[in-house]
Symmetry: C2
Subunit: 133 residues, 2 copies
């Protein structure tokens, strides 16, 4: 269960490693790979699942501990976990009766890097940057 996630984001730093989405126009195939991961994050349930998994000190969470936190059926939670796993965001391992999931830090770090602007954070304005023509 731990070895079949798709090879997303070109994990190994072979291809010059990601100028970052905000500095260069992003090729079509990179966009497809990236979109797969962001799509996995584009659901509230999956975001909460990922958050619960990532914020665990030991780094591991039993599925039996995740399922009762939602008012959703067990197959639905299992489905969402599968999508997160296929996106390379989490990794699961069966140990005895229970299955434990953990975060894959590399994938999250790569996303964070891709969304980090070169200039750091020099943004004194709030967001809509007062270009009131």
């Amino acid at each position: 269960m731990s070895k079949q996630e798709l090879r997303v984001l070109g994990q190994d730093g072979v291809e010059g490693c990601c100028p970052g989405l905000l500095s260069a126009p992003l090729a079509a195939d990179e966009a497809v790979d990236l979109a797969r991961v962001f799509k996995a994050l584009g659901d509230p349930v999956r975001l909460q699942l990922l958050s619960m998994i990532a914020s665990r000190a030991g780094g591991e969470v039993c599925v039996c501990d995740l399922t009762p936190s939602f008012e959703l059926s067990q197959p639905t939670i299992s489905h969402h976990l599968k999508l997160l796993r296929e996106a390379g965001l989490i990794d699961g391992e069966r140990r005895g009766t229970w299955v434990y999931y953990r975060l894959v830090p590399a994938t999250v770090d790569r996303l964070a890097a891709i969304l980090t602007r070169p200039g750091g954070r020099p943004l004194p304005e709030t967001s809509t940057t007062a270009h009131r023509s």
Copy 2:
């Protein structure tokens, strides 16, 4: 056109400002807001559009410059731009005949912050962390 994007992510730093998805379990309503933005990034075309807009030195791109880069109809591109705008990722302004879009740095910065793990990047292993039972 510049003032009606949804107030996503609780832009103003009133509520203690985002421990970051990876350190705390993330409330349901926060997850809904966040998912809206990630969902906007969950499409290859929108990722490329955002990338083209963000990587522009002047910070502005004319729609007339974006549309011919894809083999998609003009309404489709317009639709994707609208979704990016509603997610608070870009902002558009009409100037004469043409419409120009620019990045909203605050939203991207917030996403980057949310995906940044507290520990920086101490990950010597590649991703599947050799738990080959």
